[in-house]
Amino acid sequence: MGQKISITNSNNTQDSRFLSFLKRFSPQKPSLDKNMSPRTGMFAKLTAPSANKPNDFTRLISNSISFASTRTKEYLLFKDPEGKFQPSLQTLTQVFLMNYITQSVNLDLTDTFNCTAMTPEQRILLGADWVWAILKKPTKNPKIQIAVQVLHLPEREEAEERATAGKPISESIQMAQMESRNKNMYERIVDFCTSIGKDCYALFLFFGKRDDKVNIYGVLSNNFEAAVGKCDKIDRALIENFFKGSRYFHTPFGMMQTIFTKKTEEALTLMIKFS
């Protein structure tokens, strides 16, 4: 499950102390996860194990997530040699979602682990790009949720901001922005998850990070609200700080397994490498 990687050392012990109160790692040791290479293409369906056991089910979900991550990774560093064609950041999010949804439909997962893409207004109001949910039977009410917010490399976000500056915004988007003006996007997703409870996780999904621009990483927690009061606000710097000094990056399988086996009210924070 856990993938040991070279540690990004932080010399800033203050950071470590600061983050220690937020981190509540799962007591279980990351298990070995040798079969985590995602099955891709048409073989994904052919080689998928039948989901009779919870572990099989967990693996199907994580395989779908890994598959989407691997496919999205292929486009992270795309650059038009002529510099004319510039896909929007939203396109990368859509690539991920298209691949994930296709895979989960093929594997017949949607009745038990569904994925709801947010509307443009919801993305602003709730701060989430999509929400994964493990559904209870027979009500299909969510049992556990993971609200996902995609973060792109700062330079790409800045470039997009420049490109879209001055362009018309729809009325409903303006209204959503008005409604949410008092909080930043990081705070909004944390607020959303906190309002639901410990069974709702916020996952900040980094499409590339500063020291590794070609891979997808994540910080998942149901305890980000602990930061409120300890610091001024929840922002990108705070979330990126979680990567500093991290010994382990969980795999998607490890992430799902840890979530499934965690006690209900327990706080949990994980760092994940998705690709």
Binding site: E121, L125, L126, P168, S170, E171, Q174, A176, C200
Partner: protein, 241 residues
């Protein structure tokens, strides 16, 4: 509307203060972009509430987009759509909030009750439990909203007559007891959808004019035309199917 908002805050009727707050918010929105119709006389914030799977989202989609799909997708948290209606030459912008019915979202949905001027409280005529929950939803409105909010009770899915478990009379009686207007509706067959919204808008306009008439502080800045000058006739509350 400009005249309406000219008096000092201290003299304002609560209803008018409510409008002013909302209008102040919409003034901020104005002029920031060119994507939508920025010109309107009033803006009403409406909420659709009720148990999960009674058809709130379908109802809103039918009204705002004239679309319907039978696929059920549970709403996550909250969402909204905007629709402009016309009443006596006044443009009224409706900001219609679609709320998730599941209990786990209650904290986030009730946060949006504040400032709402009207509610559509919906149940499913084929689901007794959703009807039984109407009283609780009504209490939620009283708890989290303001006293003058108008409410219409809607018994949705009236196209499914064979599966009906809540009679029209039961719905009407409960609405009377709670002091709400009542319609049976079908988002699928487009029955009483527009009428429900129109009635809610009428009720809000009535309340607004009533407040203007009874509050001397308000009449000094009364608009030249009342929104209720030629109110449309009441719609048939029962389902036509």
């Amino acid at each position: 509307m400009t005249a309406l908002l000219s008096s000092p805050q201290s003299c304002l009727h609560p209803l008018r203060r409510q409008f002013e707050r909302i209008m102040a918010a919409t003034q901020d929105v104005k002029g920031k972009g060119e994507g939508g119709d920025q010109n309107f006389d009033y803006m009403f914030k409406l909420l659709i509430i009720g148990n999960s799977s009674v058809g709130k989202t379908s109802f809103l989609f039918r009204y705002a987009d004239d679309a319907f799909t039978s696929a059920f997708v549970s709403t996550v948290g909250i969402d909204f759509k905007v629709k402009t209606v016309y009443k006596n030459d006044k443009r009224i912008k409706l900001q219609i909030w679609d709320t998730a019915g599941q209990e786990r979202y209650r904290t986030i949905t009730t946060a949006y009750y504040r400032g709402a001027m009207g509610f559509i409280l919906m149940y499913d005529i084929t689901n007794e439990e959703s009807f039984g929950a109407v009283q609780d939803w009504s209490t939620q409105i009283k708890t989290y909203s303001w006293d003058n909010a108008q409410v219409v009770l809607a018994g949705n899915k009236c196209d499914m007559e064979e599966e009906r478990v809540v009679s029209v009379d039961s719905g009407r009686l409960l609405a009377e007891q709670l002091g709400f207007e009542f319609f049976e509706t079908s988002a699928k067959d487009n029955i009483n959808v527009k009428q429900t919204f129109e009635r809610l808008v009428d009720l809000i306009c009535d309340k607004m004019s009533e407040s203007l008439d009874t509050d001397p502080a308000v009449t000094t800045g009364a608009p030249t035309a009342k929104l209720t000058d030629s109110a449309p006739p009441l719609q048939q509350p029962g389902c036509n199917c």
